[in-house]
């Protein structure tokens, strides 16, 4: 049996690989959506935070012998704390201003982080081994899937759905959403809004770092790994609708699959297909697929 001229087994394999990449897009765009939705900050430093997460994991392993499983928790925490510092020192001063200022500031920060790591480690990248427990591969019949990639999809889905649930379905999430609508009123009810905002940015940074740790065994840990990805992730957020959490998750997964299929049918276009879709979506639904019309 063939689908679009390729054997259906290969087709299924490519769908699955697209889903793995989509899982990364979903996790990264989720963090962006949370930060934009609640803080109104277009966080261009997201790619750099992702890179820092991967480097944190590599440094922990290489210099301190901290294994993958601890790094999976520690690296997001470290980067999350850095996020808190960034929020307290810089972003705090920009609330209420045009979002453009936040965009420029975070863009500048990401250039600085990348520059520092390029100076320290060069651009060739560092190898991070796949953890023992997840090495090897499983034969699914239609393809051989490395166990680690399956793990990435599982973790990413759990994190995405967990975050969505936290923000859309819990009391804490309700405070957060209310705080963005009317901070003064929520404060009057005794909720510490600045603390909440600070922790939200920290959590967003932690999410980016978690994606970085997950990516470390798959690709070379490299100072440029974030900037290679961030533009695509922004396109994902724009297509999904800025600030829509479920939108960014679904769009991330969907675009991963579309990109994966493009790699089969017309590989040369695989790096731009996301942007073509972005243009079309912006023409038809300027607020994005899941965004609310302003």
């Amino acid at each position: 049996m063939e689908i679009f001229g390729i054997p259906h087994q290969a087709f299924l394999g490519q769908l699955l690989l697209g889903l793995v990449n989509g899982a990364f897009y979903a996790m990264l765009s989720l963090g962006l959506a949370v930060i934009f939705g609640l803080l109104d900050i277009v966080n261009f430093a997201h790619g750099a935070l992702y890179m820092l997460g991967a480097f944190a994991a590599w440094i922990m392993l290489d210099k301190f012998g901290v294994n993958y499983w601890f790094a999976l928790i520690l690296a997001p925490l470290v980067v999350g704390v850095l996020g808190v510092v960034i929020e307290r020192v810089f972003l705090k001063r920009l609330y209420g201003l045009d979002p453009l200022y936040g965009l420029l500031l975070t863009f500048g920060l990401s250039l600085i982080f990348e520059g520092i790591f390029r100076e320290l480690f060069g651009v060739s990248g560092q190898s991070y081994p796949v953890p023992e427990l997840l090495s090897g591969a499983t034969n699914l019949g239609f393809m051989v899937l490395p166990n680690y990639r399956a793990w990435v999809v599982v973790v990413s889905l759990v994190v995405c759905i967990g975050t969505w649930y936290l923000i859309e379905r819990t009391r804490l999430g309700a405070y957060l959403r209310a705080g963005t609508e009317n901070a003064k009123l929520v404060q009057a009810f005794g909720v510490n809004v600045p603390l909440m905002v600070m922790l939200t940015y920290g959590a967003g940074a932690g999410l980016a770092a978690l994606a970085g740790v997950l990516a470390a065994p798959i690709i070379q840990v490299n100072p440029l790994m974030g900037s290679n990805l961030i533009i695509v992730v922004f396109a994902v957020v724009v297509i999904g609708g800025m600030g829509s959490i479920m939108g960014s998750i679904l769009t991330g997964l969907g675009l991963g699959i579309i990109e994966g299929l493009t790699r089969v049918f017309y590989p040369e276009a695989s790096s731009i297909v996301v942007f073509v879709i972005m243009v079309i979506v912006l023409m038809i639904r300027p607020a994005g697929l899941f965004g609310k019309e302003a």
């Binding site: 990449n21 390029r118 695509v232």
Partner: protein
């Protein structure tokens, strides 16, 4: 009105004369344009620029009694950035010679500008053999390696060892096409077949999809016609997906920095072609030690070539007694080189003909420590490694 025009014309003439004056007595300027910050920055990059400065300093800092100045710029792997910078330097700064770094698209663009301005252009980091073949110019020197040499040295060794059926994973730009084309020709010439190819964007984020396509081709050998970060990520994914169990993998352009960053566990047994290895003889080791003391890593073949090329150029200027592009090119092509990097000669088409080497990456057991990575498999003489006069399409070669 007329008076005005006359004064303006005079002013222009005087200004031109004044700048010509500056050109003959001011500094001799050498330019270096390469990838300073992206995926090829480690194999060449800022350290490559520093090598040119070392060459200038070792030469005495002066040639023909004039001081030598080195200008460097980052082309970000964009051909338009590279060519407009080259043009600016040649027009405004009266650049005497340009060294081109990594990325073939940029080198082809700069070669055009240099030819138009009649300035010597020494291409080092770029691989495309088009530079001295279809697109050859009277002012281009291709100094270190090219895609034909990589294909002939690495490719033919593999085909002769019985790996007949190939599939290529190719970087989607000038260099990738050249390498894939040249390697395919070598494979076919040695009785092999090419099952197909898939092209990936430069700086691709994920290779698994491309690798799966390669695997389903059922070819015996996967030729990686890419470089730098693309090569290392493709190698890593190939290992993760077990591609290396069903296919043999051939890196067609591998630098020692790539081997270092992937580690011997991921590269053991890989055969590769290169123009130089830091541990090949005493003179090379002496150069490498100096480099290591500053950078805490060993130099790539490109960085060694940057030093060697700058020295070769300055010697030619000294011998020719002028920085005039035509005369310097004549001297360059008439004078054989003999230094730690190359013992060769620049052919009429601009191709530096020198020995190339086939190396095999050592296993962790064989290696005595970091950077002890290669063992020599064979040395291929220049006239066998590069495009032969008979095969060349360059009009500068008299047949």
């Amino acid at each position: 009105m007329k008076l005005n025009a006359l004064v303006a014309a005079m002013a222009i003439t005087l200004a031109a004369a004044a700048s010509a004056q500056v050109a003959n007595t001011g500094a001799v300027k050498i330019g270096f344009i390469t990838d300073m910050s992206s995926l090829y920055a480690d194999i060449d990059g800022p350290a490559g620029g520093e090598m040119i400065k070392w060459a200038v300093a070792d030469f005495g800092g002066k040639v023909l009694g004039r001081p030598i100045e080195v200008l460097t710029a980052d082309h970000q792997n964009k051909a338009d950035v590279a060519s407009s910078k080259a043009r600016e330097w040649m027009d405004k700064d009266n650049l005497a010679m340009l060294v081109g770094g990594t990325s073939s698209g940029t080198a082809l663009a700069m070669a055009k500008v240099a030819a138009e301005k009649k300035r010597p252009f020494i291409s080092i980091g770029a691989g495309s053999a088009r530079l001295t073949n279809e697109d050859c110019t009277a002012y281009t020197v291709h100094y270190a390696y090219d895609t034909v040499a990589l294909a002939k040295v690495a490719g033919s060794a593999l085909v002769k060892a019985g790996n007949k059926n190939w599939f290529f994973l190719t970087a989607d730009y000038a260099f990738g096409y050249s390498l894939e084309g040249d390697a395919s020709a070598v494979v076919k010439a040695n009785g092999g077949t090419v099952a197909g190819a898939v092209r990936h964007p430069l700086n691709a984020s994920d290779f698994s999809s491309f690798l799966l396509q390669a695997q389903s081709s059922k070819a015996q050998i996967l030729g990686l016609a890419n470089a730098g970060g693309d090569f290392t990520n493709a190698m890593k994914a190939a290992k993760e997906f077990g591609i290396n169990k069903t296919m043999k993998i051939a890196g067609l352009l591998v630098f020692i920095n790539d081997v270092h960053s992937l580690g011997l566990a991921n590269t053991e047994g890989l055969q590769l072609a290169d123009s130089w290895y830091w541990n090949q003889d005493d003179a090379s080791r002496a150069f490498a030690k100096r480099f290591f003391d500053k950078y805490k890593r060993q130099p790539s073949s490109l960085q060694a070539a940057d030093y060697s090329a700058a020295t070769t150029y300055l010697k030619a200027v000294q011998a020719a007694g002028t920085t005039d592009g035509d005369k310097v090119m004549e001297t360059l092509k008439a004078t054989p080189s003999n230094d730690f990097y190359t013992k060769g000669k620049i052919r009429a088409d601009g191709r530096m003909i020198h020995d190339m080497y086939l190396f095999e990456v050592k296993s962790a057991k064989e290696s005595t420590g970091p950077w002890d990575y290669y063992k020599l498999v064979s040395k291929v003489p220049g006239d066998q490694a590069f495009t032969t006069v008979a095969d060349s399409k360059c009009s500068l070669l008299k047949k």
